[in-house]
C-alpha cells in the first residue's frame, strides 16, 4: 500500500508550497490545489487513495467551509482539517460540528498539523 495522499488546498501560493514540503517530509504524498474548484475538478474516482484534506477556511470564490458543504452534499466522506489565518471559537465550533476532524489556526507548529493528519488518517482507515 502506497503512502496516503494528503490533499492541500490553499489560495496562498507561498503557504501551499511551504506546507507541501513540510507534509512531504513526513512521508506522505501531497497534492496541492490553489482553490476549492481546482480540487473539485479532479475525478471523484481518486477519492479512495485520499487520506485527508488540509483545507484553508478562507478563500475567495469558494471558501473551505463551502467546499465542506459541497462534499458533504455529494456524500464524499473525506476527513477535513481546516487551517485558517482568521479563525475564532465560533468558526471552530461550527467546523467541528459540521464534521471536520481538525481546526488549526495559522501559523502553527508542525506537531499540531502532523498529529491532526495522523488522527484523520486513523479515522479514514477505521471507516
Amino acid at each position: 500500500m502506497s503512502a496516503p495522499v494528503i490533499c492541500l488546498i490553499d489560495d496562498d501560493a507561498a503557504v501551499l508550497k511551504g506546507l507541501s514540503r513540510l507534509i512531504a517530509t513526513w512521508g506522505y504524498q501531497v497534492r496541492a490545489f490553489a482553490s476549492a474548484q481546482q480540487f473539485l475538478d479532479q475525478p471523484r474516482a481518486g477519492d479512495a487513495e485520499i487520506g485527508c484534506l488540509v483545507l484553508d477556511a478562507h478563500m475567495p470564490v469558494m471558501s473551505g467551509f463551502e467546499l465542506q458543504v459541497e462534499l458533504d452534499q455529494a456524500q464524499r466522506e473525506l476527513p477535513i482539517i481546516f487551517i485558517t489565518g482568521a479563525g475564532d471559537e465560533k468558526l471552530r465550533t461550527r467546523a467541528l460540528a459540521d464534521g471536520a476532524v481538525g481546526f488549526i489556526e495559522k501559523p502553527f507548529e508542525d506537531v499540531e498539523l502532523r498529529e491532526a493528519v495522523q488522527a484523520a488518517l486513523a479515522l479514514r482507515r477505521s471507516t
Binding site: 511551504g18 517530509t25 475564532d88
Partner: protein
C-alpha cells in the same frame, strides 16, 4: 247812528247790524248819493278823529278833507257802476304829529233800492298800518332764514358724506323735517324731498338691530331737551350697511314743540379705517402671542418701555419691577454692557444680535437676542431661550461623535483582523518552510548543528509573531458580538436617526420602504447598524456630485427566501465593473482617502451573521447594496 228800520220785519236785523257797528274791530260807515254820512261807527269816527254823531248828514269833504279827493272818486265809481270795490288801499295822515302815517284797507259795497238803484254805499275800513309793518318784518325774517338755508345748503354741499337737518318734534310726538341738506342721499340713501315728505323713512333706514335703542334714546333726548350723539348702522337701498354718526342739539318752542338741529355723518370710511387699525393691532397681538420669544420695547438708551408677554415666568424680574428702568441697572453688569454695545450697533448698522447665558432658577440658560430699531428712538429686542435647542444640537453632535468613535474602534479591529490574516499566511509559509528544512536536514543525514539552530530560530520567531497577532485579535474581538432577536425595520430606524444630521448637511433625501411584519433576525444590534450605516454613507458619498434634487437614498427591507433582505439604493456614480469583484476585499478603496475597510467590515459582520452581502449597479444611475440575514426561525 243807524238808519231807522223801515218795517217791523227787519227790526231784529237792525238790532244785529247795530251790534256789529258797535263791536266790529273795523271802521264802518254808510254814505248816500250826495256823499254824506248816513251812519258811522265809533271806531271809524275815532280814526277820523271826530265824534260819530258829528259825521251824520255831513259830507266826506267836510269830515276828511285830506283824503276826500281820493275816496270821492271811489264812491262815485261804485254809485255809477253798482259794483263793489274790495281792499282798496288808502294812506291817511298820522293822527298826531311824529307818528307814522296810517295805512287803511277799504271795501265799498253798493246798497240798492227796489228798483236796483244804488242809493247808498256801505264802507268797511281797516287800519292795517301795524299789520303792514309786521308783514314787512316777517318778509325780512323769511329772507334772512332763506339766506341762512341757502348758506346751509352751500355748506352742506361741501360735505358730501354729511346731512344737515332741522326737525320739529310736535307735542303729540310726531316728527317732521323742516330742513334737510342734499347729503341725505349719501348718508341715508334718501332724496331730501322724500325725507321732508315722509320723515318716518329715516327711522326705517336704521338697521333693525340698532333701531329700538336709537329711537328710544332719540325720544329721551327730545323729552329732556338734551343733545343727542349716537352712532348707528344705516341699511342702504342696495342692501349694504353703512355707519352713521348722528349729533343734534335740541331746543323747546313755546308751543311745546322741540326743534332738533344737527348733522348726520356717514362714518363708514372712518369706521373701516378704525376697524383696520383694531384688526392690525389684534394681528400684532396675535403674532406676539404666537412667538416663543420675549419681546422688549426699549428706548435707545436702554430704558425698558414695555415687554410682551407681561406675565411670562421666563422673565428675570416681574414686568413692573423693570419697566421704566434702564437695563444697565437691571441686568448683570457685563450683560448690560454687552447689550449696550448692541444698541450702539443697531444705531449704526440697523440691527444687532447677542448670545448670552443667564443663571435662571439655579440653572444656566442660554439666550439669543436680536435687536432692531422700532420707530426713530426705540429698539425692539426679541429674546429667545435657546437652551433646549442648543442642548438638542449638542446631543446630536455627541451621538455623531460617539458613532465616529465606534466606527474608528471597529475600523481598528477590522484593520487588525485583516492584517492578522494577511500576516498569518506568510508566517505559515515561513514556519512550514523552516520546519520542512529541519526535517530535510535530519532525514538526509546532513545534520548541521549550526544550520538546525538557525532554522529553529526562524521557527521560534515565527511562532512568537503568530502569538502576538493571536493575542491582539482575541483582545479586539472579545465581547463584540451580542446577538438578540431584532426587528430589522427597527434597526433601519436607528440608522435613520444616526444619519439625520449627515443627510441634512449633504442635502440628501432619505426614503424608506419598510413593510411591516418581517421575520425577526438574531443579530448584534450595533454591528447591524454599522453595516447599514456604512453602506448608506457610501451611497451618500457617491452622490456628492449629483444635483441636490437627485440626491435620494432609499433603504428598503423585504422578506426573501434566505430570511430578510436589506437594500440600500443610491443615485450616485455607480460601481465600475472592474471593481465589482474586489469591493469587499480588505484595503480596496476607490475613494482618495479611503482605507478600504468599510465594506470589508460589513462583509465580516454579515458573514458572522451567516448572511450574504453583494452589490449591483442600478438600471438608472447609482448602485444598490444588498445583504441578507437568516430569520430567527432559520437560525435555530
Amino acid at each position: 247812528m243807524l238808519p231807522r228800520p223801515s218795517s217791523a220785519d227787519s227790526a231784529s236785523a237792525v238790532v244785529e247790524l247795530h251790534n256789529i257797528y258797535a263791536t266790529a274791530p273795523v271802521g264802518l260807515c254808510c254814505v248816500d248819493r250826495d256823499l254824506r254820512y248816513l251812519s258811522i261807527n265809533d271806531r271809524l269816527a275815532a280814526m277820523n278823529g271826530i265824534a260819530a254823531s258829528a259825521h251824520v248828514g255831513r259830507t266826506l269833504r267836510e269830515m276828511v278833507p285830506n283824503i276826500a279827493d281820493e275816496i270821492e272818486a271811489v264812491y262815485r265809481r261804485v254809485f255809477a257802476t253798482g259794483r263793489p270795490e274790495i281792499d282798496v288801499g288808502l294812506t291817511g295822515p298820522a293822527p298826531r304829529p311824529g307818528e307814522t302815517p296810517r295805512t287803511y284797507l277799504c271795501s265799498y259795497s253798493p246798497v240798492c233800492d227796489e228798483r236796483d238803484q244804488v242809493v247808498a254805499v256801505n264802507t268797511v275800513v281797516q287800519d292795517v298800518t301795524d299789520r303792514y309793518a309786521h308783514d314787512a318784518a316777517l318778509r325780512e325774517i323769511h329772507q334772512t332764514l332763506r339766506q341762512r338755508d341757502e348758506f346751509l345748503d352751500v355748506v352742506a354741499d361741501k360735505l358730501p358724506q354729511a346731512m344737515l337737518f332741522r326737525a320739529i318734534n310736535a307735542p303729540d310726538g310726531t316728527l317732521r323735517f323742516a330742513y334737510v341738506s342734499k347729503g341725505a342721499e349719501a348718508v341715508l340713501g334718501l332724496a331730501p324731498e322724500r325725507l321732508l315728505r315722509e320723515p318716518e323713512a329715516f327711522i326705517e333706514r336704521i338697521a333693525d338691530e340698532d333701531r329700538p335703542s336709537i329711537v328710544e334714546s332719540m325720544k329721551r333726548s327730545i323729552r329732556t331737551v338734551s343733545s343727542f350723539d349716537r352712532v348707528c348702522r344705516i341699511r342702504q337701498p342696495d342692501g349694504s350697511v353703512q355707519w352713521c354718526h348722528i349729533r343734534s342739539a335740541h331746543r323747546a318752542l313755546e308751543n311745546g314743540s322741540v326743534v332738533c338741529e344737527g348733522i348726520m355723518l356717514n362714518t363708514t370710511g372712518l369706521k373701516a379705517a378704525e376697524e383696520a387699525l383694531v384688526e392690525s393691532e389684534a394681528r400684532n397681538q396675535a403674532i406676539l402671542s404666537a412667538l416663543p420669544d420675549i419681546v422688549f420695547l426699549q428706548s435707545r438708551d436702554g430704558t425698558y418701555l414695555d415687554v410682551h408677554p407681561r406675565d411670562d415666568p421666563r422673565l428675570l424680574l416681574p414686568a413692573d419691577q423693570f419697566i421704566g428702568r434702564n437695563m444697565l441697572d437691571v441686568l448683570p453688569p457685563e450683560l448690560g454692557r454687552q447689550l449696550q454695545r448692541c444698541f450702539e450697533q443697531v444705531a449704526t448698522e440697523g440691527s444687532a444680535q447677542a448670545d448670552y447665558t443667564l443663571v435662571f432658577g439655579g440653572e444656566q440658560r442660554q439666550y439669543e437676542a436680536r435687536m432692531v430699531p422700532c420707530g426713530a428712538d426705540r429698539i425692539l429686542a426679541i429674546v429667545r431661550d435657546v437652551t433646549e435647542s442648543k442642548r438638542a444640537h449638542h446631543d446630536a453632535e455627541r451621538s455623531r461623535l460617539e458613532l465616529a468613535h465606534i466606527s474608528r474602534l471597529t475600523l481598528l479591529g477590522e484593520i487588525t483582523a485583516s492584517l492578522a490574516h494577511e500576516l498569518n499566511q506568510p508566517l505559515t509559509a515561513i514556519l512550514a518552510n523552516a520546519q520542512a528544512a529541519r526535517y530535510g536536514l535530519t532525514t538526509t543525514g546532513n545534520a548541521d548543528r549550526e544550520l538546525d539552530d538557525m532554522l529553529h530560530g526562524i521557527v521560534d520567531a515565527g511562532k512568537r509573531a503568530g502569538d502576538v497577532i493571536r493575542r491582539v485579535r482575541t483582545w479586539l474581538t472579545r465581547e463584540q458580538f451580542l446577538p438578540q432577536d431584532l426587528e430589522i425595520n427597527q434597526v433601519v430606524a436607528d440608522v435613520e436617526r444616526l444619519l439625520h444630521s449627515e443627510l441634512i448637511m449633504r442635502h440628501v433625501q432619505l426614503e424608506l420602504d419598510l413593510p411591516p411584519s418581517l421575520p425577526a433576525v438574531s443579530a448584534d444590534r450595533v454591528q447591524l447598524q454599522q453595516v447599514i450605516l456604512n453602506v448608506a454613507l457610501n451611497g451618500i458619498d457617491a452622490m456628492h456630485e449629483r444635483p441636490v434634487s437627485d440626491r435620494r437614498l432609499l433603504i428598503a427591507t423585504s422578506r426573501v427566501e434566505a430570511g430578510v433582505q436589506v437594500a440600500v439604493r443610491d443615485r450616485g456614480t455607480g460601481i465600475h465593473p472592474d471593481h465589482m469583484d474586489r469591493l469587499f476585499d480588505p484595503f480596496f478603496s476607490t475613494k482618495p482617502t479611503g482605507l478600504g475597510v468599510g465594506l470589508r467590515i460589513c462583509s465580516s459582520i454579515v458573514a458572522a451573521h451567516r448572511g450574504r452581502i453583494w452589490a449591483e449597479n442600478n438600471d438608472g444611475p447609482g448602485a444598490t447594496f444588498y445583504f441578507t440575514l437568516p430569520s430567527v426561525a432559520q437560525t435555530a
